[in-house]
């Protein structure tokens, strides 16, 4: 019983939040790592493109909601996803045509392209605020909880409770689906293989007849899917606010670099490491040990490794350590 209580406590406060947050980060980090691997620059506009895609989804969701369309208990936003993805793809391909293609043609240094993407970031940032405003937007509908903490407690008779939300289930399920599809695409299809070839060695790929513009287009399309899904899932689970999406950029980059830039598997692992360490290292384990240890050994302090003030320091310390000792990331990616 005591052990069960301890495990439920840990699951409710550390594991489940970390897994759903990690999944949302993973989709974002995958996009970053793909762009870095294939287009060879750090895409700073990622967070804001995410906000843009989510904004489209929200607008379509509102339209669907007012038309009375519902797939209760699932959120209506899932129906709106395809349109959001198409809109985001148009935005990404448009910026590529207007901004990045030029730099690719003149073979500009990566730092120049990064600065250009910073400019794109500000433009998209403004565009999103112009259309939907800077405020929080609520678009989640359907049931919120699969079961709540209280229901769980009453049902099992345990002292500790565990709540699971639909958004968390959806997040994990869709992330698994999208990641599986992405890996299948990269490893099994002709287009996916040509993308990897282009990423490994651009010149060799060109020599063997791979059309670079096509690879670039497909990359942006994949990225459009990833960011829109990531943004929508995050918005459903927490809330949509353009400023927060912009701030997501840091943990997403940390995850991509930690796992090894350009390596999709690494981005996935990096995202979960970042999420788990943010939540786990700063968790106060007092109650956990109170359940596990005999009374005489029970801790008086909070048993907190680090104050939550240092939450963000955790991911950056990890990042610095990885860059110092394994510059290519945990999984073999490109060094930065």
């Amino acid at each position: 019983m005591e052990i069960l209580n301890a495990l439920v406590l840990l699951a409710n406060f550390v594991l489940i939040p970390a897994i759903s947050y990690g999944s949302q980060l993973a989709l974002g980090a995958l996009g970053i790592t793909l762009i870095y691997g294939i287009l060879r620059f750090s895409h700073f506009a990622h967070g804001d493109v995410m906000a843009f895609g989510t904004m489209l989804v929200i607008l379509v969701t509102w339209a669907l909601q007012s038309a009375g369309v519902s797939i209760d208990p699932l959120p209506t936003a899932l129906l709106a996803l395809p349109i959001g993805i198409i809109g985001t793809a148009i935005l990404l391909l448009g910026t590529d045509r207007v901004v990045y293609r030029f730099y690719r043609k003149v073979r500009a240094a990566p730092i120049v392209v990064v600065m250009a993407s910073l400019g794109v970031m500000f433009v998209v940032n403004g565009l999103v605020r112009f259309v939907i405003g800077p405020n929080d937007q609520n678009f989640a509908d359907g049931a919120r909880f699969l079961f709540t903490v209280r229901e769980f407690r009453n049902y099992t008779g345990l002292d500790e409770g565990l709540g699971i939300r639909y958004s968390q289930m959806i997040t994990v399920a869709i992330t698994a689906l999208v990641v599986a599809a992405l890996f299948w695409f990269l490893n099994r299809t002709r287009t996916g293989k040509s993308m990897r070839a282009y990423s490994d060695n651009e010149d060799l790929a060109l020599l063997s007849g791979i059309n670079p513009e096509r690879v670039v287009t497909v990359t942006w399309l994949v990225v459009a899917v990833l960011v829109t899904v990531a943004g929508t899932l995050y918005g459903l689970d927490k809330s949509f606010k353009p400023f927060t999406y912009f701030q997501l950029l840091l943990p997403m980059f940390a995850a991509a670099i930690l796992g090894g830039l350009g390596n999709p598997l690494g981005a996935l692992a990096g995202a979960f490491v970042i999420a788990l360490s943010e939540v786990g290292v700063t968790y106060a384990f007092r109650k956990f040990f109170q359940y596990l240890l005999p009374e005489s050994l029970e801790p008086n302090s909070l048993m907190q490794l680090l104050s939550t003030d240092y939450k963000f320091a955790v991911s950056f310390v990890l990042l610095v350590l990885v860059l110092l000792f394994r510059p290519t990331g945990l999984f073999k990616g490109q060094s930065v």
Binding site: P17, P134, G161, G163, L302
Partner: protein
């Protein structure tokens, strides 16, 4: 001399209508953590200005307003904005800033060096009470030292004995958390944990996990309604960590209720405000002008602008050095009480050499170095809306 000639020439070109403009700066965080309540704040201030202009009794000229953005938490931006307003737009006074940190930055770096009066409607950090201000700084909001006491009183009256506190990591949050902790401990309560949170972050389960492990009957959230504060509450509800929250003034907003639905039933908090007929009058005016007068700090913003203009009228000068000494006079007794919508009447009295006691929308009573005495409305979420349960 050359500059003077040039300016005179320009003024000549612009025509006499602009010759006696009285530009007033309105500096709020139109971007950043308070961006959802600042539009109503600015509209309130502009409404007071429009009222004064419409009266035709303000003999010093036509008052114009210039808006500036301080980013709420971006001191660099705030100082640059204020510098621009003071040196290039030549504002004669600043209504603002909104958040405590940027208010202090503007006061020390722009207002004092240039000798410009500032009246902030919403900066509540206790540190501003004792800041060097050359008599230039006033606020229509009370210091958080007072709010801390009010929070402790509310908690004790509700029979709460243990609390956990989380605050937004800046001057406002830290100052408020300190004063709440001090007041509640002095009242015999136990504070299990005081943890900060950063605004605008993606995930708050770590903070909530730690706070929940520390325990407490009520979680006091000293943050911003559109920022980390909301994230903390969302996470707490989702994880079943806390059911009841005590919300400080920055956390009161309808957007919170919209986002959380009925899960906040029974949660309580407080906003500056008094049992004052002016509040209702102001809300009617705001509704007529097409915005929400019950938005946080909107009444205080109206009062800040109105006070500044009445002080100018009383001093019969737009020079900060002249009218700064009149702000306290028009705000406090003796004199005829002035409510929102009666600014024309106030100007008449002043022109006739009489005394006014500006009460305004937020029952302005300036004490100490020029800050509001601090009346609070205790609010409770009942049937999905913030209801005022009593005044403190």
């Amino acid at each position: 001399m050359k500059k003077l000639l040039l300016t005179t020439a320009l003024v000549g070109f612009a025509g006499t209508a602009y010759a006696d403009d009285v530009p007033l700066g309105i500096i709020f965080g139109f971007t950043g953590p308070l961006e959802s309540i600042t539009p109503a704040m600015a509209q309130s201030a502009e409404m007071a200005v429009a009222e004064v202009n419409a009266s035709g009794l303000f003999s010093l000229g036509t008052v114009t307003t210039v808006r500036g953005d301080d980013g709420c938490i971006d001191s660099g931006l705030a100082v640059a904005t204020a510098e621009r307003l003071v040196t290039s737009d030549r504002v004669v006074g600043i209504v603002g800033a909104d958040c405590s940190g940027v208010t202090g930055a503007i006061l020390q770096n722009v207002a004092r060096p240039n000798g410009v009066v500032m009246i902030s409607p919403s900066a509540t950090s206790p540190a501003l009470s004792t800041a060097e201000d050359d008599g230039l700084f006033f606020r229509t909001a009370p210091s958080d030292a007072r709010q801390g006491q009010v929070v402790a009183d509310i908690l004790v009256d509700r029979g709460v004995s243990t609390i956990a506190i989380t605050y937004t990591n800046n001057d406002y949050g830290a100052g408020l958390a300190d004063s709440i902790q001090a007041a509640f401990t002095a009242a015999g309560g136990t504070v299990t944990m005081v943890a900060s949170h950063e605004d605008g972050k993606a995930d708050y389960s770590a903070e909530v996990g730690a706070l929940s492990a520390a325990g407490g009957e009520v979680l006091v959230v000293a943050g911003y309604v559109d920022q980390g504060g909301r994230g903390i509450i969302r996470s707490s509800l989702d994880l079943g960590a806390f059911d009841t929250f005590e919300l400080v003034d920055g956390m009161i907003g309808d957007s919170l209720l919209e986002a959380m639905g009925d899960e906040l039933e029974g949660t309580f908090g407080q906003l500056p405000g008094a049992d004052n007929p002016g509040t209702g009058m102001f809300q009617d005016l705001a509704t007529a002008a097409g915005f929400d007068g019950s938005s946080a700090f909107a009444p205080e913003s109206y009062d800040a602008a109105a006070l500044m203009l009445l002080a100018m009228a009383a001093a019969n000068s737009t020079a900060s050095a002249d009218y700064k000494d009149h702000v306290m006079d028009v705000a406090n007794a003796p004199g005829e009480q002035i409510y929102p919508g009666q600014l024309a009447h106030a100007l008449e009295i002043i022109a006739a050499g009489g005394d006014v006691d500006y009460v305004g929308a937020s029952a302005v009573e300036l004490i100490g170095s020029g800050e509001s005495a601090g009346n609070y409305r205790e609010l409770e979420v009942q049937n999905g809306a913030f209801e005022t349960v009593r005044f403190r």
